[in-house]
């Protein structure tokens, strides 16, 4: 039974696209058939993060308008066979995304894949609402920062009222993914703690992705962080999050960077 998952946040720049790529790749690495769908029409950064920016002729809007077969618009990843990308259009007007067209595309993707992961645009307007409408599950990406937490609260409100499930009187499964977290700063009282954010938003925690240089390195290379460096702290955190998504019960931990003695002594100064 296919699952539609939306990666959303309200606020921009908190790591939706990075997380979509990493979660999608980690699910595919676990053998699941995955498509990541870029709903950010006009910006389409998901392809860039995944490293497929110059591939593919057709996109989500062609699929929505029925100009082409959906299978022609899907780009299969060169590294993981079961990972696919449905890119957003660069040039088309975002009003070209109609709710009927999106519904048709989602239905078809549900038949073809185990996971349909929708990368939401920032904001709480139409684009974000279209991306979340068909979701069974939502990953709310939040930074330990007040404006991000507040926007997540708004998005949670929308997930509870403006989705197909909400309209049918059902619930979207909501999960919190805390990104760019710095446990040392949180401990010193310089950053909101995990418990504070969980208490405020009151949705279950899917994972804590530590602030890490490996994330930028992976996006520089055009590779999801779980592929670029599977043993890095953020990759392990994303992999754990994916195992939780698949129903495993795992104790929550914040993976740390593995540092040798040299790194421990000099690592901070270099950074």
């Amino acid at each position: 039974m296919a699952k539609v998952l939306v990666v959303t946040s309200g606020k921009g720049g908190v790591g939706k696209t990075t997380s979509t790529a990493a979660l999608g790749a980690a699910l595919a690495q676990a053998g699941q058939k995955v498509v990541v769908v870029d709903f950010d029409v006009g910006l389409r950064n998901l392809g860039l993060i995944i490293g497929a920016e110059r591939r593919g002729v057709y996109d989500l809007i062609n699929g929505v308008q029925g100009d082409t077969k959906l299978s022609q618009a899907l780009i299969r990843d060169k590294r993981i066979e079961t990972l696919h990308l449905l890119p957003a259009s660069q040039t088309r007007d975002k009003d070209a995304l109609t709710s009927e067209g999106v519904a048709r595309v989602m239905e078809e993707l549900r038949e073809k894949f185990d996971w349909v992961i929708c990368d939401s645009p920032a904001g709480i307007e139409r684009g974000a609402q279209l991306a979340m409408y068909h979701a069974d599950t939502a990953v709310v990406v939040t930074n330990p920062e007040i404006s991000s937490v507040r926007d997540s609260d708004r998005i949670i409100g929308l997930l509870d009222s403006k989705t197909e499930r909400a309209e049918k009187g059902e619930r979207v499964d909501k999960h919190l993914l805390l990104t760019r977290y710095d446990p040392a700063r949180a401990k010193r009282g310089e950053m909101l703690k995990t418990e504070d954010i969980l208490e405020i938003l009151s949705i279950p925690l899917l994972g804590i992705i530590p602030e890490s240089q490996d994330v930028l390195r992976a996006s520089n290379l055009g590779s999801p962080v779980t592929l670029a460096d599977p043993t890095s702290a953020p990759a392990r955190a994303y992999t754990d999050a994916v195992r939780r998504l698949m129903g495993e019960k795992l104790a929550m931990s914040i993976p740390g960077d593995k540092k040798g003695l040299f790194g421990k002594l000099f690592g901070r100064r270099v950074a």
């Binding site: 409100g157 009282g189 310089e190 909101l192 504070d196």
Partner: protein, 92 residues
């Protein structure tokens, strides 16, 4: 920088937490209200529409929440009564 400033600078997270809690408590309530008002407006319109034709913007629902007193104001502007309907009532 004196010692007090130094210590204060270190623990900004509790301030963030408190500000968020106050703000969200407020925003969540007002968010629910605007929805309640919209639902009320629709249902009142539906009831009136059963008995007479009415303009959508002639029904105004306003909810004011104060600390001591809250008011719900419903303002319905009636359509002008046609003469033909008024006569049978007079003859009764």
């Amino acid at each position: 920088m004196n010692l007090f400033n130094f210590l204060n600078r270190r623990t900004s997270a509790p301030v963030a937490r408190e500000r968020l809690q106050i703000l969200l408590a407020h925003e969540r309530v007002s968010g629910n209200h605007s929805q309640l008002v919209a639902v009320l407006q629709e249902e009142i319109l539906a009831v009136i529409a059963k008995h007479m034709q009415i303009d959508r913007d002639k029904v105004v629902v306003k909810l004011d929440r104060g600390d001591d007193v809250s008011t719900l104001a419903i303002d319905i502007e009636m359509p002008p009564q046609p003469q033909s309907q008024a006569r049978p009532e007079l003859s009764l």
